[in-house]
Symmetry: C2
Subunit: 339 residues, 2 copies
DNA sequence: CTGAAAGCGCTAACAC
DNA sequence: GTGTTAGCGCTTTCAG
């Protein structure tokens, strides 16, 4: 593999001149520039990024901290889609992407810190927001730039990009309320994920603003496991047969809920209306098609990446966050309340 | 950030000694080793991987060439799952993962070659097999090690890992035949993907071995777009109402097909049996639950990664490939033929 | 506008 | 078993 020296020789200039043309240095005669470029072509030269990184003390690489749970990713196009969003801007701005995967919280912490300490990455995209996140504390100690996709607990002292989950959920639940529903069950996930907390909060606020009493018994918590969701939904409806609607914090959970409702011999939306969240592409295909909220995953990814690159290069003095808009998508899974 | 020199000073040894303890050099006294390790802890030293890569002329990084189409990834946990498989062995063997994404064939080629030429990666995992793949040719010119997940056209001159799609499909279709079905429609995808070619081939062989005539009119080709799949399925069944079963080369297509069948007022499996492929986690949740083939995605990823690392380090003289087993999963979407 | 020289942080002969 | 030295390929002062 040819190096900058080979090009220099071939073009009859010094290595530093070659470096200058590579880096588009302004003060360089267009003649020598052409000559050098010609030599590079001829020789088949390509700059060695590792060497460049070493001297520049930056890698032009972003680390992507992926959630480790399988269940999370279960049938969920979220990660494919957010990677597309991230990839598109990284590409554009000449950044590479280092994937950081793990099989648990401890490993995640170790592996991520290692990537940072060993200077593999210039910054990190954290693809989840979790309560009491040790990783964030450690990263701050190391002064690594990072952006969280999601809302962190400490909103004021982090860079983050998120949907407005509370407000979006409130709207969604108010849509149900508008249809006449008052007794609305909720299927939610592990409360260590802030996204689920926020959506539950949105639900509460919708009730509150509309003078409906909040009943914690209507809330069930499930995992990514669908069989369980189905089971829990059935149990919920058997305990509280007056429920006329179900709000699931994720479309996948809504699928499980619909199945449970059907297994009880009830109809969707005839007997029970169902809404989900995230607008999984399958939601338009199931029967009935699911009313849900599109969260613009691609944009979540691209916005976070732009932010991170900006933070790396500009070192802003104040923390900030960005909100990506959601759109409610009304389909066939909800009907009016028939007292 | 402390460097090896700082550690050397603090421990009262030379940088090379420090380097030796980092790299577990055999001839080093356990005393100095301890002393150096203590200093590293105290100072908070972590080796700079970039510098190491430069001198060692290898990065301990694997490039992952992701397919670029959105439609592919549509609701498909394939990529989450294969990344898990890849990540688990990469982690284990101390390799990092560089994500290579793109928005089209040309960009994919450019970006991938750039990663190789600029020495960012030691080898590549190509997460798709495509006909007439220019990328493969270029990578061979560059003598980059790479492993394909899927079966490449030129089987003999590549390293690859795949399911036995032909044989697995044959079994699946023979299951339908065993139920009495003879007129079996097929829903397939873009034939530039070899996986679809192979599954079609398996279908043909099943018919052939069982003395059933092959009718190309029973084959329809769709894209990742579900609405289309539904539409095409309806057209197919309207043109050939004698079809009693449908084989879809992917579960997601099977979902579209089932919807189409239902929209025609027919029952699954009462009137038409349906089988899919890949065992998407949702397939157990839909109604009826889908008979399909589990392809062990995690193992596909881990096997490919092990192979690649092996190839990078051992430089084997002969090409080889590995086959990951599949399991047919019988559920409720098929019934006996009722003439 | 261009060249010489130093150095990024680490490893690997080669000495001793 | 440990230190000295050179150098991986590139950028970047500093001269001129």
């Amino acid at each position: 593999m040819p190096t900058i020296k080979d090009v220099a020789k071939s073009a009859g200039v010094s290595p530093s001149t070659v470096s200058r043309v590579i880096n588009n240095h302004p003060r360089i005669s267009s003649e020598t520039k052409k000559r050098v470029e010609k030599s590079m072509k001829e020789i088949g030269y390509h700059p060695n990024i590792i060497a460049r990184s070493l001297v520049k003390q930056k890698t032009n690489t972003l680390g992507l901290v992926m959630p480790y749970s399988t269940e999370e990713a279960f049938a969920d196009p979220f990660y494919s889609e957010i990677l597309r969003g991230i990839g598109s801007v990284a590409q554009n701005k000449e950044y590479s992407l280092l994937l950081i995967t793990s099989n648990g919280m401890k490993e995640e912490l170790e592996v991520t810190l290692k990537a940072v300490r060993s200077k593999r990455v210039d910054g990190l995209l954290i693809l989840r927001a979790r309560s009491n996140d040790k990783l964030l504390k450690e990263l701050k100690k190391l002064k690594t730039p990072f952006v969280i996709v999601g809302r962190p607990e400490d909103e004021k002292n982090n860079f983050w990009v998120n949907n407005d989950n509370i407000e979006s959920t409130k709207k969604l639940v108010e849509y149900l309320i508008g249809l006449g529903h008052e007794k609305i069950g909720v299927i939610t996930g592990d409360s260590k994920y802030i996204v689920y907390k926020d959506r539950l909060e949105g639900y509460k606020r919708a009730l509150e603003d509309n003078g409906i009493e909040y009943n914690p018994n209507y809330i069930i918590q499930t995992t990514g496991h669908h069989g369980l969701t189905t089971k829990y939904t059935k149990e919920l409806l058997e305990s509280y047969p007056k429920l006329t609607a179900i709000f699931a914090v994720d479309d996948l959970m809504a699928y499980g809920a619909i199945l449970g409702i059907k297994e009880l011999g009830l109809k969707v939306p005839g007997d029970v209306s169902v809404v989900g969240f995230n607008n999984n592409p399958l939601s338009q295909l199931i029967t009935p098609s699911l009313t849900t909220v599109d969260i613009n995953i691609f944009e979540l990814g691209s916005t976070a990446t732009k932010s991170l690159i900006n933070i790396i290069n500009k070192e802003p003095t104040e923390y900030y966050h960005e909100i990506v808009k959601t759109n409610m998508i009304i389909r066939d899974s909800c009907g009016g309340y028939k007292g």
